[in-house]
């Protein structure tokens, strides 16, 4: 009898342990309503000693807007924050409550355990957040300033080798730059997603017909993020010498090919959705990385 009860206890413990293990390897999700309710319950958010230039009311307003309209999140004009903006698509759409809690915690205490990552932004970054100017809509979005600066301060890759410490204006420099490897790593570590990445910083992905490949990704249950050379799509000068490497992350939403071979690409480019018509040749030329990001699910499901 004693043996049976011990065995039962052991089996029960093993079952509980496996549940914890599965839960730990499952991507956390929550609803928008939960997140908004959580924010509504915050009656008085005091000014934070850790983020002296962030107004708490504006911070909450910004956070609420991002949760209500995830596509409103804005990287700012002429910044290198596009990678951080692109990866924010996942928590804002799939775990807004977790994201809101983490950002509030980061605001109140100056640090947060976000997924596998312990974010503890430097003083220079904490003083800059809320003070970024001349970045268009980002000027009045302190929650995004705090979030992007904290991520850029923490995650480093070879692109950040010569500029690892934040100085004023570094949001536009290599300090904030995101390589393809760093981008995929950030998603895995922060949000616990499966990331299937094709491509590299200096090499196009070998996926055959690019339109067919992207269409296939969009049919699956997940998010497709494209790392592309923006010099062809959004020219800022008329120089014939264009960089032969990717410069911009976008979230691909739809893709459609017409009989005349032109392709409509609909993507999220921060602040709004864009529809751009390109030829198959241009599409192949600009795409350097395609990351398919999907939730990890428990095997019990």
């Amino acid at each position: 009898m004693k043996f049976i009860s011990k065995s039962f206890l052991l089996v029960h413990l093993l079952f509980l342990f496996s549940e914890v293990l599965y839960a730990g390897d499952t991507t956390r999700t929550s609803t928008r309503a939960d997140a908004l309710q959580y924010i509504r319950n915050i009656k008085n958010l005091s000014r934070s000693n850790f983020w002296p230039n962030i107004n708490p009311d504006e911070f909450l307003k910004n956070l609420k807007e991002d949760i209500n309209i995830p596509l409103a999140l804005y990287q700012g004009s002429n910044t290198n924050f596009c990678g951080y903006a692109a990866l924010s698509y996942m928590p804002l759409n799939n775990d807004p409550l977790g994201h809101a809690k983490n950002l509030i915690h980061l605001f109140e205490t100056g640090e947060v355990q976000y997924g596998q990552v312990f974010l503890q932004p430097s003083l220079a970054v904490r003083l800059a957040a809320g003070n970024l100017k001349f970045k268009g809509g980002l000027d009045i979005r302190p929650a995004e300033q705090m979030w992007f600066l904290s991520l850029a301060d923490h995650f480093k890759s070879y692109l950040n080798f010569f500029n690892k410490k934040y100085d004023a204006g570094d949001e536009n420099t290599f300090w904030a730059a995101v390589s393809y490897g760093k981008f995929n790593r950030m998603i895995k570590k922060l949000f616990n997603y499966d990331v299937h990445a094709r491509g590299a910083d200096l090499r196009h992905p070998r996926v055959g017909d690019m339109y067919s490949y992207l269409s296939e990704q969009l049919k699956k249950d997940g998010t497709t993020i494209v790392f592309q050379n923006n010099a062809y799509l959004r020219k800022k000068n008329t120089s014939k010498l264009k960089p032969g490497f990717p410069t911009h992350f976008i979230v691909l939403l739809e893709i459609k090919k017409y009989e005349n071979d032109l392709i409509d690409v609909i993507y999220w480019d921060y602040g709004f959705r864009s529809l751009r018509q390109v030829t198959p040749a241009i599409l192949k030329k600009i795409v350097f990385g395609v990351s398919f990001v999907s939730k990890k699910r428990s095997t019990h499901e």
Partner: protein
């Protein structure tokens, strides 16, 4: 030492030439420029859009059409009938837009847009217009653009004529990383390698 002095003098002369050429350009073309910005503002109020010329012959444009849910970016030859159809579809007056395009072609205006900027937490807008410079440039040196910004309200400038950010007058305003100078109370300019 003499060489260094010469480089400094040439540098100062060149920067002064840039300012003079810009003011001269504005004085010679202000009627056309002012009409372009005014008519753009009027059409934009009906439907937000931007225009970019994509080629040297000023025959092809990127037209960005902004709706509540999506920004459409299409490329057209300005003579294409497809352009007219698209304008009608997006509720833009074809005759006025074509007139605007013709005026842009006549002064080689590369880019025309409405830009949001923020002062003291408040959203403001300005008309942003880029024109290719006609100045002499050495082979391999990048093309430069006169960037003109038209404000709704008169702006503040410092004693050197540089545009200031709002009433506090403590810092220079930057747009796309450039500092602007006074043309008149409502118009400021810079010379940049980037047209947008």
């Amino acid at each position: 030492m003499n060489k260094l002095l010469m480089i400094i003098v040439i540098g100062l002369l060149m920067s002064s030439c840039a300012t003079t050429s810009m003011v001269k350009y504005y004085n010679e073309n202000h009627k056309q420029l002012d009409i372009i910005q005014q008519s753009y503002k009027e059409i934009y109020a009906r439907k937000p859009f931007t225009i970019e010329f994509t080629d040297k012959s000023y025959q092809h444009i990127f037209l960005e059409l902004l709706t509540d849910s999506i920004k459409y970016i299409y490329e057209f030859d300005v003579k294409e009938t497809r352009l007219n159809d698209t304008l009608i579809k997006f509720n833009l007056p074809p005759a006025s837009v074509m007139n605007l395009i013709n005026r842009m072609q006549s002064i080689e205006c590369k880019w025309l847009s409405n830009l949001d900027y923020y002062t003291e937490g408040k959203k403001n807008t300005l008309v942003f217009l880029s024109v290719k410079t006609k100045d002499f440039r050495w082979f391999f040196t990048p093309q430069k653009y006169y960037i003109m910004t038209y404000y709704i309200q008169p702006q503040y400038y410092d004693s050197q004529g540089r545009l200031l950010d709002g009433r506090s007058r403590r810092r220079l305003r930057e747009l796309n990383g450039d500092v602007f100078k006074r043309v008149n109370a409502r118009v400021a300019y810079t010379i940049s390698q980037r047209f947008r």
